[in-house]
């Protein structure tokens, strides 16, 4: 009788920087696998056939997960070879694995339906993806693979302009470059990466790693024009004159503000301002760096998504006490479990069922407290499946000398205001068809620009889908010409 391999039910853990050390700096919290432990974790995968592997279906960009884990396992004595083969599989679907391996909500996507999750812990797919990307980068494995992936094209298939260098834009650009298109990315800020650079702190996604992922796209031939605001520096019409197609991946770049008294008080930041000062401009190193940030001793963060967690944990690292105040309950928080867990470990406090109604300031115009109405959950659920809440008429005031508002974003309307004919929905998102084409032929869009607010990986999924649609569109156009 054949001996069945024993299922290892528990995950091989990844080490983390101890709490007391990490709250003092912006160093990355999770340290990731080494080859030996990655191998052990990969070996837990039971290798569902790709046609019905639930993890692949759960991934918005459909990475061949069993395939890359198999490749990793096939060369236990030759880590370089194992990683190269695994990375080749990943790159077929995703050119930014060091990013997605860090910021994807894997527990809701690839890892959620994992068969191993029924008998124990699901495979730690995110950390394995990250391991492959990190190992490859550190050991010079990427160069060789890049040459392989560039063999496809010389940029003569057509020219595409990509607006925005966030997850959607970078993915679209990478996919098109792999197909052999000449791609130019237009970025409004002075560094590429979009929300990955201004929104996500170093302790979750080190800038150095992001920069290297982007450098790889440049190796694939993608040109990135920084300091260019499409709609201002160049118009959409001008781009359409010069390129065969345009992809808009401008994200959701405008912060929602609370329309309550005191919103203009000093030290009330939007999460975007707070995080941009810290992440993009390194204000935590002020005055060595010029961009300042000012926080007091008690900070209240309003909201409970990943952005709220990022803002809370960043504020903590600036030396202030932090409380997250959310108008709903714990189970409705939209942040990744890992981020909530890290925030709690680091000492962030949580207050639930509190809805802000007023910011109270001192004589100098600086915030000193937030007045909340206590909320009560109902049995009824809204269309997102969250329990509805109602005010109780009871109020509580919490002291705070710094407030960060992280209640969401809406699309920036710079392009839609400038480009007449580009149809938008009332919420500012761009109208697209099933091929992600906007109301202007040849102009495609994806990511938060069409979704309002979603995750990095969904934006990347759009970037990839749009790249395929753009390819088909340009082929058709050239065939008819």
């Amino acid at each position: 009788m054949a001996v069945k391999p024993k299922l290892i039910k528990e995950r091989i853990p990844t080490p983390e920087v101890p709490v007391e050390e990490r709250v003092k700096s912006f160093v990355e919290v999770n340290l990731g696998y080494d080859f030996a432990s990655a191998l052990k974790e990969a070996e837990r995968c039971i290798q569902c056939p790709p046609e019905y592997a639930p993890c692949i279906k759960g991934c918005p960009v459909h990475i061949n997960i069993p395939g890359f884990l198999k490749a990793l396992r096939e060369n236990p004595d030759n880590p370089d070879e194992a990683v190269k083969n695994a990375l080749r599989v990943i790159w077929n679907d995703n050119t930014l694995p060091a990013v997605t391996g860090r910021v994807c909500p894997q527990e809701e996507q690839c890892e959620a339906p994992c068969v191993m999750g029924k008998v124990g812990d699901p495979i730690n797919i995110g950390k394995l993806e990250r391991f492959v990307a990190d190992y490859a980068r550190k050991h010079g494995i990427e160069e060789e693979l890049l040459r392989e992936f560039m063999a496809n094209g010389d940029g003569t298939k057509g020219r595409v302009a990509v607006v925005g260098s966030g997850p959607a834009g970078l993915t679209c650009a990478g996919e098109l470059a792999k197909m052999g298109y000449e791609v130019t990315v237009f970025e409004a800020l002075h560094r590429p990466g979009g929300v990955l650079i201004y929104g996500i702190p170093e302790f979750r996604l080190p800038k150095e790693i992001l920069d290297k992922e982007i450098a790889k796209l440049r190796e694939l031939g993608v040109e990135i024009k920084l300091d260019h605001i499409v709609g201002k520096t160049v118009t959409l019409e001008e781009l359409l004159g010069e390129y065969d197609a345009v992809f808009i991946g401008t994200g959701a770049g405008t912060p929602k503000l609370l329309n309550i008294p005191g919103i203009l008080l000093d030290r009330i930041y939007t999460a975007n301002e707070f995080l941009t000062r810290i992440n993009l401009m390194k204000a935590y190193l002020f005055p060595e760096y010029d961009e300042p940030i000012a926080v007091g001793e008690k900070t209240i963060v309003i909201g409970a998504g990943n952005t709220a967690m990022d803002a809370a944990r960043s504020a903590l690292r600036l030396g202030t006490e932090v409380t997250i105040a959310y108008r709903r309950g714990r189970e409705d928080m939209t942040a990744r479990i890992e981020e909530i867990h890290h925030a709690e470990e680091e000492g962030v406090k949580f207050e639930f069922f509190l809805n802000p109604v007023e910011f109270i300031g001192d004589e100098e115009g600086r915030v000193k407290a937030v007045k909340f109405e206590k909320m009560r959950p109902l049995e009824e659920r809204d269309r997102k499946g969250k329990r509805k809440i109602v005010g109780t008429g009871e109020y509580v005031t919490l002291e705070a000398d710094t407030v960060i508002i992280a209640i969401g974003l809406e699309p920036n309307r710079i392009i839609s205001e400038e480009a007449t004919g580009l149809k938008t929905n009332p919420d500012g998102t761009l109208v697209v068809d099933e091929n992600l084409m906007t109301s202007i032929p040849g102009v495609f869009a994806g990511g938060d620009a069409i979704r309002g607010e979603a995750t990095v990986i969904l934006a990347m999924g759009d970037g990839k889908r749009a790249a395929k649609a753009i390819d088909a569109y340009i082929r058709r156009k050239k065939a008819n010409a």
């Binding site: 024009k225 203009l264 939007t270 975007n272 941009t276 390194k282 010029d290």
Partner: protein
Amino acid sequence: MGYVITKKENLSAIDFFMEVEAPHIARSWKVGQFVVLIPDEKGERVPMSVYYAKDGRIGMFIRRHGKTTLKLWYEFEVGDELLSVTGPLGKPIEVKHYGNVVFVSDAVCAQAESYATLKAMKEAGNYTIAIQTFENEANVYPERYLAKPVADEHYLTTEDGSVGIKGHYLDVLRELIEKDKVDIVFGGGKLGSLKKLAELTRPYGIPTIVTVRQIMVDGTGMCGSCRVLYGGEIKFACRDGPMMDAHKIDWDDAIKRNARFAEQEKIARERYMAELRARGVV
């Protein structure tokens, strides 16, 4: 990259002129719009008014005020490159025939805008009047940098009377309004003066469009740092302005918000000046 400094010249005891290669901006810049520049890796993003945009270059007036602008003056010479120049940002103002157009200015950014705006307004067939106010003689610019060539009437005032008319643009404007010579006022500069300007023109119903200078980070409407109360609504100075109806702005709030980082600015400036002294630069 490649934002090469092509000209640099002292304007006065506190302000200087800098011209930078930025063809992407020069081709699309319109009156009323601004740029954001970053000197170097460790620099901050600073919004700047534009004096002119031509031949692939933009000219700016800059005040030696905070660390960044001091650094630009002391460490950046013709031939050096800036890390980043982004733009044009904000909404252009409407250039058309208004009749008698006055531009008032009492600080560096607005002195740049005075020339740029009145030039466009004159070309659009307006009668142009510039009132340029400086604190004192030492702060006055060389004549070729004033708005004189594009103004049908030009008034130079100093607050201490050391040169030109003694007084502020508000004083001169009041007289012009009484002579019924003003169809529209554009302007910029110190926020406190703009508040008084709004109060001066409001009873006469004279349209008054001014630069709402606020602390910005990205300049595209992403961060919300420059939010102002405008006709009871929240607007962003970078995206909805920077030139806005002075009568709709809540100036008291705008003035407070613009001083948010005063402490940090002071720390940075003093630390930098000490560094310059240690290096023997000043």
